[in-house]
């Protein structure tokens, strides 16, 4: 087995991992801070992909259409997230978690049908942006520029997110809300506003991920359900609520999938689930997780 192809498998695993991180990080943070398991997170990702396709469709001959479309899609989904949080979710915070689960699940169904109604049931595809349409030969393997871009973007978002959470006042408030919401409320902080901000930020990330994945994968109904399962595996492995846990969880998932195919073809998906089972047996809260209060 040539080292060059081990390298290419590693890179392909990294691409999968960084995409997952983009999506799963939002899911993990929302749960960590707000204790909401947002099933509709995958739907935000899907809407982001559809909005990006639509925007590219409208802007197409313009230079840089893809980038504008991706940003517009992310902002669109962020707006959607804000509306969902303000109008629907915030009425359920004090209540049993089951209500939140049911609400977000209902959103999954509604958003899936809304997407089908607007864009049909066919498979849509977006071309990679002209800036990143080429590829480079590295260590004997062909690497598309676009995949490299995603691989670099992942850690940038991770660092950016970490800085936002640990080096800004707003971040400190978020972490405080995760630790003890009542106390923070009693101290006079606008916890409601914090929650909205958190939800909007996670929706923005999900929408951005959806927009950025559209040149690589097809935009189809069902992509919401498919991604949410993967995102859940990642946050479970990494630990719910842990930012770096999600990062490492994504990396492990991506690489196990990539090398599982190489080592045990036909059982690659099984290897990821087996890994998750092993980690949960050894560390029930995930690699970096804490027991949920």
């Amino acid at each position: 087995m040539a080292a060059s192809f081990l390298f290419s498998q590693f890179i392909s695993g990294l691409t999968t991992a960084m995409f997952l991180f983009l999506i799963a990080s939002g899911l993990s943070l929302v749960f960590g801070v707000m204790r909401v398991l947002n099933f509709a997170h995958g739907s935000f990702y899907m809407i982001g992909a559809y909005l990006a396709w639509q925007a590219v469709h409208w802007l197409s001959p313009l230079v840089g259409a893809f980038w504008v479309a991706a940003l517009a899609a992310a902002l669109g989904v962020a707006l959607l997230g804000g509306i969902v949080e303000r109008l629907l979710l915030r009425h359920l915070y004090g209540r049993d978690e089951l209500y939140q689960l049911l609400l977000t699940y209902a959103l999954v169904l509604i958003l899936a049908d809304a997407a089908k109604f607007t864009w049909g049931t066919g498979q849509l595809s977006v071309s990679p942006p002209a800036l990143l349409a080429g590829s480079v030969k590295l260590f004997g393997t062909t690497l598309p520029h676009y995949n490299l871009f995603i691989i670099v973007l992942g850690p940038l978002i991770a660092i950016g997110g970490w800085l936002a959470l640990y080096r800004t006042g707003l971040g400190r408030m978020m972490r405080a809300a995760a630790y003890d919401r009542e106390m923070l409320d009693a101290l006079g902080a606008d916890v409601g506003g914090l929650y909205t901000t958190m939800f909007v930020a996670s929706a923005f990330l999900a929408g951005l991920a959806g927009a950025l994945v559209s040149p690589l994968e097809s935009v189809v109904p069902g992509m919401d359900v498919q991604i949410i399962v993967q995102a859940f595996i990642v946050v479970v492995i990494g630990g719910l609520g842990s930012f770096w846990g999600t990062f490492w969880g994504s990396l492990i998932y991506g690489e196990v999938l990539a090398f599982g195919i190489l080592i045990v073809p036909g059982f690659s998906l099984f290897s990821v689930f087996a890994l998750m089972a092993v980690i949960l047996i050894l560390r029930p809260w995930g690699l970096f997780g804490r027991p949920i209060r």
Binding site: Q9, S12, T121, G122, Q123, S135, E217, S218, M223, G266
Partner: protein, 399 residues
Amino acid sequence: MIRRHVLALACAAGALLPFHASAAGPIKIGFPIPLSGPTAVYGVPILKGAEMAVQDINAAGGVLGRKLELLPRDSKGNPDEAVRVSRELIFKDNVDFLIGTLTSAEAPAVSTIAKENHIVFIAPSAETVRLTAPENLHPYIFRTATTTAIEGAAGAVIMAKWPDLKRIATIAPDYAYGRDAVAAFLAEMKKLRPDVQVVDQQWPKLGEPDFTPFITAQMSKRPDAVFCEIFAGDFITFAKQAGPLGYFKAIHNRLADGGQVGSIDTAIPLGADYPYGIWADAYDPVVWPTQKSAEYQAYERNLAHFMKSKYGSGWAIQGYASVQALVDAIQKAGTTNDEKVAKAMLGLTYQTPLGPHTFDPLTHESNTGDFWGEMVKDPAYPFAVIKDPTYYNPMPATN
């Protein structure tokens, strides 16, 4: 008093009328088919072909004096959903017959329902040999599609002729269709070229959104050529991902795909991203180097008009032919009674725009083959077309 007698006579006369006249109304054909998801790229045109056949037949007066009514339902390419909608069609909508399902996962599931309820079920697309294997065969299942045995063998016959072939690989969706087709391919390949070595087999799942790790894993084994069964929307995704990774270049486009990706239904969405140079097949190439029969040309013109598209479809013919086969059987049986229609289908020769096919009385198969050829650019069309489409059926009798 006379009025009472007249009334009684009228009732008696009414009771003596033949049964089917009182069951007037349209002949209902349930049509479960994927209208969403990656397999809808094939499912939607199959339905269109069936709808056009129904329209044509109704315009010509219907069957046995009754109109046909098609009841399409979205099976989502999922066997559970296909079974659910089929049951609904049978029990709630009281359909007389079933035509449909696309994948080799859906068809055997719906075949069981057809068997339980004694409803004739025609499969226009599902290919797994398990559908009509002796342990699964029953009087009501018939197939107008090709089979994995024929398709796999055709792939082997084509690839065996390629020069400098020492290492081959396969990549196919991990379910009945992919597994059976690859098994048939390898069995025939072993017979034709025992010197060739299988160096890699990849099994992505049906509906896989990210083929990248499978693509790079296969490239690492350095095959000379690949037999592929990825089809429909999955092939669109696969081609778009494999191209930039240098997959097709590494094997010099020596890939044969049996999943009907030579159909214009796949070629049009891929456009310029189509991996030219690969070999692919289709039931109906649509674009031919020579003139076809007047009936076929009329069919293609009507289809393009019916589908409101410039080029029509390479898959509609399967929906069209399946409705035609059912109608021919109903006419031969002289009734819509499923038992009698099923009997009438044994050995029945039905007409399709591309010529007649016959249901084998023992296996219920049509033993249809596909038209294969190299996919090339044609200046007259904005999509890849099959060069010199040639009919391949290396295994006329299956099972």
